[in-house]
Amino acid sequence: MKQTKKSRLWLAAVVFWLVVWQGAAMAIGQEVFLVSPLQAFGTLVQLLPQAEFWQRVAFSAGHILLGFVLGGVCSVLLAVAAERWLWVDAMLAPVMQLVKATPVASFIILALVWVSGKSLSILISFLMVLPVLYGAVRTGLESADPQLLEMARVFRLPLGRRVKAIWLPAVLPAFRQGCSVALGICWKSGVAAEVIGLPDGSIGDALYRAKITLSTGELFAWTFVIIVLSAAFEKLFLALLDKAVARVLGEEAV
């Protein structure tokens, strides 16, 4: 009941802002500055049946998600190493701090010197995801119950059982939360990298073309596509992760 009310309120808020947007567009009366939601939706409908649209979606999603996966794998490995060896922790601390604090635009421009525009979004989403998931995994590892770890030591539990029974239940909830944040960040930064690197056949390239041709409708349509893709991948990935968490922690834990 409460959930239905919440959904209704959310829907009402969306409708309210769409009306505000429509009103603002009508008041300005200049498509170049602000298209109406109806025009943006119309442009999106025109884009949808085009093969090029789906190729761009596949290209960008593939690159950005590859960066996310690489970032995820590296962050787990590095966090485990940092938890195990103090010197790794010390070595990584300034690097992670630096990556977190550096503006994404600086990274994009710097990275363009080292890699091609085509691979840029992989590198950028990797770099943006790394400190977020590294921090999440570290938090999870640090939350492992020390009493259970002592129990494992006394009973001489093999590593595999320690991981499954103690470490994973501690890490997975924090990792899930980190993934939720990181997925949003990697889409934003990945598309930003494409807008600057301009790889052919990417969403970022389409956004840039829309900007230079003053096709504000396309700009809005592509932006909407990015938001939907980001939200859809987040939902899908988290649903899969929740299944994994449920298997490890027991159905009722999630």
């Binding site: 009493q147 259970l148 002592e150 030591r153 006394v154 009973f155 539990l157 103690i166 027991g250 834990a253």
Partner: protein, 194 residues
């Protein structure tokens, strides 16, 4: 089965200025109950034997592989009773399921409780899981720190019987304050303090 006797030699443990025990010497050749007043350091002594605390001086010999009931239950909260016990046993859970269930029935734990995750069990049920885990785990030395906490008199008798049955052939040290438990076990009592 022959087992090495457990020897505690000139053991001293201090935490800063506080001395818990000093120059403690003990030889354990048969299952025994450790008795001492609260705060004497029984738990610390057991932790030294488990290898979790370093003694200030002295040594222990003949401990070998340890299984234990800790002061706390220390169960994996997401695992059920059978899984918690099977976790410390070599091989697959399915190999032991029947044996574990039979032992739980001996301890008065009904089958419906066995499928619940440990976080949903009552204090006494958790204690029985922790006890059975220690009793079934492969070990040379069995260290039990207040294993009867939260058990009613009937369960205590059943638990004591199972400890006597499964503790044979091992070094067993059981720390408790419970006079009923000491009587039920019928083991010699090592009185560590007046």
């Amino acid at each position: 089965m022959q087992h090495n006797k457990l020897e505690i030699l000139h053991l001293t443990k201090r935490f800063g200025e506080k001395t818990l025990f000093e120059d403690l010497n003990l030889t354990v050749e048969e299952p025994a109950v450790l008795w001492a007043p609260s705060g004497w350091g029984k738990t610390t002594l057991l932790r030294v034997l488990m290898g979790l605390e370093t003694p200030t001086s002295g040594s222990v010999q003949g401990v070998g592989r340890v299984s234990a009931v800790f002061q706390e239950d220390r169960l994996c909260p997401q695992l059920n009773a059978v899984q918690n016990v099977a976790l410390v046993l070599p091989g697959l859970e399915t190999q032991y399921k029947e044996q574990i269930e039979t032992c739980f029935q001996q301890l008065g734990l009904d089958l419906t409780a066995l499928v619940l995750p440990a976080r949903k069990l009552s204090g006494g049920q958790k204690r029985r899981v922790a006890l059975l885990r220690a009793l079934l785990a492969p070990s040379d030395t069995l260290l039990l720190d207040e294993p009867f906490t939260g058990m009613d008199p009937e369960t205590l008798q059943k638990a004591a019987a199972l400890i006597r049955e499964r503790g044979g052939g091992k070094n067993v040290l059981l720390a408790t304050h419970d006079r009923d438990a000491i009587a039920a076990l019928g083991w010699p009592v090592i009185q560590l303090a007046e």
